[in-house]
Every structure is written in C-alpha cells, then in structure tokens.
C-alpha cells in the first residue's frame, strides 16, 4: 500500500477530531463572525448608529475607490509600512548582533532595549507629541540650546515633517519586538562555525554576511511578516499625533477608516476599506513568503 498523505477529514482519527473541534469552532466563530459582519456592513447603507438603511451592492466600494483621500491614504500606507518595517530591520539586526555578544553590562543593555515594549503605544505617542510640541517641547528646547534653530519649529504643523516623525516613532516602538525575535534566532546559531570561519581567515563583516545573515533569514522573515501585519494596521501613533491631518496629509488607511466610521458616521464605506485592507495584507504576506528563495538544503 502506497503511503498516503493524510487529509484532514477522513484520515484523522475520530477522537482527534472531537478533541480539536471545540477550539476549531471557537476560532471559527471569533474569526468568521466579525468578518461576516464587516461583509454585511460593506454592502449596505448603514446609519451612524448601525441601522441598516438598505442594500447598496458595490456602491460603498466604488465610492471609496473614487475618493482621492482614500487613494492618497493607500499610497501613504505603503510608504508607512515599508519605511517602518525596513527601518526597524535596519536598526534591529545590528542591535541584536551586538546584544548577542559577550560584554560587561549586556543584561542591562538588553533590558534598556526591551524597556520601550512595556510602555503602551498610546502613552508613547502622547509623550512624543509633547516632546515635539512647538512651544515647550523637549526637541525644540534641545535644538535651541544647541543653537541649531532660533525659534521653536511647529513639527506637527506640516505633513512633510509630521509624517517622517511618525515613521521614526513607529520604528522606535517596533525595535524591542523585532530584536527579541532576532536574538532568539542568534542564540540558535552554534558558536563553533564562527570559530571555523575565523580559522579560515574570515573577518567580522564576512562572518556576518556569509554566516549570520543566511542563518538568521527565517527569523528575519517571521519578523518582517509579523511587523508588516502589525504596522499596516497600526492606529495609535498617527491618530494621537496628527489625527491624519493637516488636510488629510498624514492619514493611513486605518486612521482614514476610523475617521469615516466615527467622525463622519459612515460605517458602510469604512467596512469596505477594512475589507480592501484585509485583501492587501493577504496578498502582501503571501507574495513576500513566496518570493523568498527556498532553503538550500
């Protein structure tokens, strides 16, 4: 008899099915019920308070797609996600490598890097907003005392300054999580291969490029995918600092969606955006994992 790969139904023994059924059902409910609700909202005209006014088919989607603010927010979301995830990685990989080395005070350094994780994102955003306050913010005071600027700069007044600052804060708050994943990856690399490489005359840079990076790749992939999902949907930083303004100039999709649903009272179009976001994220993640070269061995 040729060995058949077991398919889920039929081949799994009955007791196993019974045992996983409750959690399967719970997961299905938790995931499918909201999804069903959002689908329902997206094809109806819904009042601010959730009253269904009528079926509208694709109208919410066409209205959203025709909205220039939506398209601008979509583009900005891609920039936001790319910049925050990319920036996080660029900072986190060296940080993790350094924290993995043996040096005095390593425990303290690790704690310091992890510390921002314990502060809620909303609180961190509020503190940063104060720091960038035009009149008495820490940043302006610092720059003034260094003689770099003569008068307080209203950082949040223009999207050109506000958005990059928000990206930078996004990077800062993503570092602890990413570094943790990478540290886990580094600790799984055996030390003797570095020794062998050193004997063969490889310098630190070559060791990093030829050994650390390739061996770390699957961990980097996890970090990238999880960060993409998280950053793409990240609401507090932008909402607290600029509420998507001025002139809708710092909206990403999630803040724009919130603005539509709760400020303007339009749950229908907001649900449509939410589904579009789900689709984008799905494609994003799928493509990213697909484009990764398969493991050599």
């Amino acid at each position: 008899m040729a060995a058949r790969r077991p398919t889920v139904i039929g081949v799994l023994p009955f007791p196993v099915l019974v045992m996983i059924a409750p959690s399967l059902l719970l997961a299905a409910f938790v995931i499918l019920y909201p999804l069903w609700e959002i689908l329902r909202l997206s094809v109806h005209e819904i009042s601010r308070f959730g009253l269904v006014r009528g079926f509208v088919g694709w109208d919410n989607f066409t209205a959203v797609l025709a909205d220039p603010s939506f398209r601008a927010s979509l583009w900005r979301t891609l920039v936001w996600t790319g910049a925050v995830v990319g920036g996080t990685l660029v900072v986190s990989v060296p940080t993790a490598v350094i924290l993995n080395m043996d040096f005095a005070g390593r425990g303290l350094a690790r704690a310091v890097v992890m510390l921002p994780w314990s502060v809620s994102l909303s609180m961190a955003s509020i503190v940063w907003l104060w720091s960038f306050n035009a009149d008495y913010g820490l940043i302006n005071t610092l720059l003034q005392s260094l003689g770099l600027i003569a008068r307080g700069v209203p950082w949040m007044a223009r999207p050109e300054t506000a958005f990059p600052i928000e990206i930078a804060i996004g990077v800062i708050v993503s570092i602890p999580f990413t570094t943790t994943i990478l540290l886990g990856g580094l600790s799984s690399i055996p030390g003797d291969i570095y020794e062998a490489a050193r004997i063969d005359g490889a310098g630190p840079w070559l060791q990093f490029r030829a050994l650390t990076l390739p061996l770390l790749r699957s961990f980097i992939n996890i970090a990238v995918v999880l960060n993409i999902i998280h950053v793409f949907n990240s609401f507090p930083i932008i909402w607290i600092m600029t509420q998507g303004g001025p002139d809708d100039g710092t909206h990403i999709l999630i803040t724009y969606l919130y603005d539509l649903a709760f400020r303007l009272g339009k749950p229908g179009p907001a649900a449509a955006i939410s589904l579009i976001m789900l689709a984008i994220l799905f494609v994003f993640t799928f493509l990213y994992l697909r484009l990764q070269p398969k493991d050599a061995n």
Binding site: S47, F49, D135, V153, P154, Q243, D247, G249
Partner: protein, 409 residues
C-alpha cells in the same frame, strides 16, 4: 356571603397596598453619560445624584463621564451594542442623526408649560426638530475675543480691538515687540468655526436657507484671504496647523499671545490657574457686521430607556434653579434658564455679560445631515490654505463641492 365579600375586599385592599408599596419601593437605576467639561464635572454630577437619591429613596443615578472628543464614538458603540444609557449629554448638532434613527424621545410629553418656561427661549430652539423638542440645553456658550491687557495697551488699544483692521494693527505692534499677535488654530475640533467668525463678520454664511453650502462667496474668499495674510505677515503664531484651541488658550494663559477667540469657560480656567493675568474680553472683531458663534449641548433621553419617568424626574431636578446655577458657575458656561440669568453671579459679572450681549447676533450650528462632512471639508480647505498648498478660491470651491454632495444638493 357578606363575610366572604369582606374578606375578599380586605384581601384586595391588602394586595393593592402591597402593590403600591412595591411601586414606591421599586428601585430604578438611571444611567447618565456626561461629557468631561472640567475636573469639576464628575464631582458635580455625583453630588446631584446623591441629592436626588436622598430626595427619592430607592432610586439611584449612575454617572459615566466621557471625554468630549470620544463621546460620540462612545455613544455610537453603546447604541450598536444596545448598552446605551438612559440619558446622555450630546452636542446639539449631532441630534438629527439620533432623531433620524428614532433613538431619542421627544420630550414635549414630559414638559409642563411651567418647565418649558424655565428656559431662555433661544437655547431651547436648536434642539427642536420638526416642532418637537428632543434635548434640553445643559450647556451653552458663545465666543468672544480675549486680549492680553498689557500687550494691547502697548499697542494703543487698551479696550481691545473693535475691527479686524484693529486686530491686524495691534498684531503688527505685538509682533514688533516679539510676541504672538492673533492666535490662529487649525488642529483638532472647531477649526472650521474659527474661520466662521471671520466669514460671518464679513457678511458670509456657511449654509444657505435652502440647505446648500454657501461659504464659497466673495465674503468667504475675502475672510480666508485675510486669515492667510495674517499668517503670511507673521501676525499669528507660526504653524497654526499644529495648534488646537487648548494650545492657544495655554499660550494666552502664559501671556505669550495677544488675542484669541474662544468660549467663556476660559475665564474660570484663568481664575484658577493664572489669577494674576491681566486680560479683557471684547466682542468678536467686526468686518462689515457683528457676529459670533453660539453652541449648546443637550441632554437627550433614549427611547429604549426602561426608567423614563425616573430619568425625567432627575432631569427636572437638574434643571431646577439651585443645580443649574451651581453647574453653570463651576463650568463657566452661559445661563440657559431664566433663574440662572437673574442670579447676581451672572448679572454682576461683566466678563460673562460680554458674552451674553453677543447672543442677539449669534449663529448656531444648523441641525442638518451632512454638517460633520461640511465641517471636515471646510477644515481641510482651511488647512490647505494655511499650508500654502491651495489658494482660498480653489480650496473653498473644492470644499463646496464635497459639502454639497454630503448635504444632498
């Protein structure tokens, strides 16, 4: 037979009295959501709830205090989850949405002529939709110009500016002395309103009587160009799109800002935080005419409440003279009932009287669907002009189109 009859009578009477006792002892819990106006709001309502319970043993009032910016969203999710309170404070301009979805109760049936007569007529009007009153004005305010006495005296206007030209002239002098002249806000709530002061005093309108967007007119362009020129000439603080109303009020309290248009409650804040600040209050500067913005917040009762009679009893208590005067005093609002207006605290308060005197020229936000969309479209237009990415003409045209679409015109 008679004996039996008597017994049944007795039993019936006993049952009746038991029933009435039960009714009297039925403990209703009235849930009310109030907005956080100041640190005094929560304690005030707790105090009123305790007084109400003392006068009506068994009944209870539960207070929930919610920040103003999240109040509508909170109610929205409460209602969707069928967990809304019995009564709530709302912005009167939101009322129409509540009425359209049949969520709130018309109050005319509860109101006696005597109760209705407690109010100053102007303030009951904004919460009236199709002849029915849906909300009671719990908070009212109007807007006037606060000016820093020292700065304006140095600029030669010890009594404050009268016209927009005066504002510009005074701001020039304040700027020369190294201060910020006229505060211009363009972040957070009421960005649109801050421009309506200029629009209205130039003879413009936000919405025409037939419900169309009416701000894209020569008066609109002129008033917006005026604000933009203030900004370009350095007569305002730099970067208005980084300043909320609270930011400007803080600058004013610190004596770093010459003039700012805002609500009467700043008086209380100044009394408490910087009692030494020398300042005056003048009407909103005039262009071709005088105008100001008046706004009320209303208490509404939800249709699905199971304790309407007790809830109304509590409202009746809240709107009696004692509680009203205490509330309006501590929050720094304007009187909405006649008893408050007659109280010596208000009649003798010159600063508050400046606001009261503006009411004949006051504009209220209209109760129309699409007001929030209009507010947002106008806000975006103003921000784009202040940022220099659009001209007043182009920005107002764009906002007009968006607003008309939302207004269904």
């Amino acid at each position: 037979m008679t004996r039996f009859k008597r017994i049944t009578h007795l039993a019936a009477a006993a049952a009746l009295s038991l029933a009435s006792m039960a009714a009297a002892a039925r403990a209703d819990t009235v849930r009310i959501t109030v907005s956080f106006y100041s640190a005094a709001t929560g304690p005030y309502f707790e105090k009123m709830a305790a007084a109400f319970t003392a006068a009506n043993p068994g009944h209870e009032v539960k207070i929930e205090v919610v920040n103003w910016p999240s109040l509508l969203q909170k109610l929205q999710t409460d209602i969707a989850g069928n967990a809304n309170p019995d009564i709530s404070i709302i912005g009167t301009r939101w009322l129409l949405d509540f009425v359209r979805d049949d969520l709130v109760e018309p109050l005319d049936g509860h109101m006696s002529a005597d109760f209705r007569n407690r109010f100053i007529g102007t303030f009951l009007k904004p919460a009236e939709i199709k002849g029915k009153v849906y909300g009671l004005p719990i908070a009212a305010s109007a807007r006037a110009l606060y000016y820093n006495k020292a700065m304006l005296t140095a600029a030669g206007m010890p009594d404050g500016p009268k016209t927009w030209d005066d504002v510009a002239a005074a701001a020039e002098k304040i700027k020369a002395a190294g201060g910020n002249g006229f505060g211009l806000m363009a972040k957070g709530t009421e960005v649109d309103v801050y421009w309506y002061y200029a629009l209205w005093t130039h003879g413009g309108q936000v919405i025409s009587p037939d419900g169309k967007a009416a701000f894209n007119t020569p008066a609109g362009v002129k008033s917006l160009a005026m604000y933009k020129s203030f900004l370009d000439r350095g007569l305002t603080q730099p970067g208005p799109t980084d300043y909320t109303r609270e930011d400007l009020q803080n600058q004013f309290k610190q004596g770093r800002l010459g003039m700012v248009i805002t609500a009467p409650f700043l008086i209380n804040q100044i009394n408490k935080e910087v009692p030494t600040l020398q300042y005056g209050i003048a009407p909103v500067p005039t262009g071709t005419n005088a105008a100001t913005y008046a706004v009320t917040d209303s208490v509404v009762m939800f249709k699905n409440s199971k304790v309407k009679d007790t809830a109304w009893k509590f409202l009746d208590f809240l709107f009696s003279a004692g509680p009203r005067i205490e509330f309006t005093k501590s929050e720094g609002f304007l009187p909405t009932t006649k008893a408050e207006a007659a109280d010596p605290y208000f009649t003798g308060n010159e600063r508050l009287q400046t606001f009261v005197n503006l009411l004949p020229n006051a504009q209220f936000a209209p109760t129309i669907t699409g007001w929030e969309d209009t507010a947002k479209a106008v806000t975006n237009a103003l921000q784009s002009v202040y940022l220099g990415t659009a001209t007043p003409e182009a920005a107002l045209k764009k906002a007009e189109d968006i607003a008309n679409q939302a207004l269904g015109k």
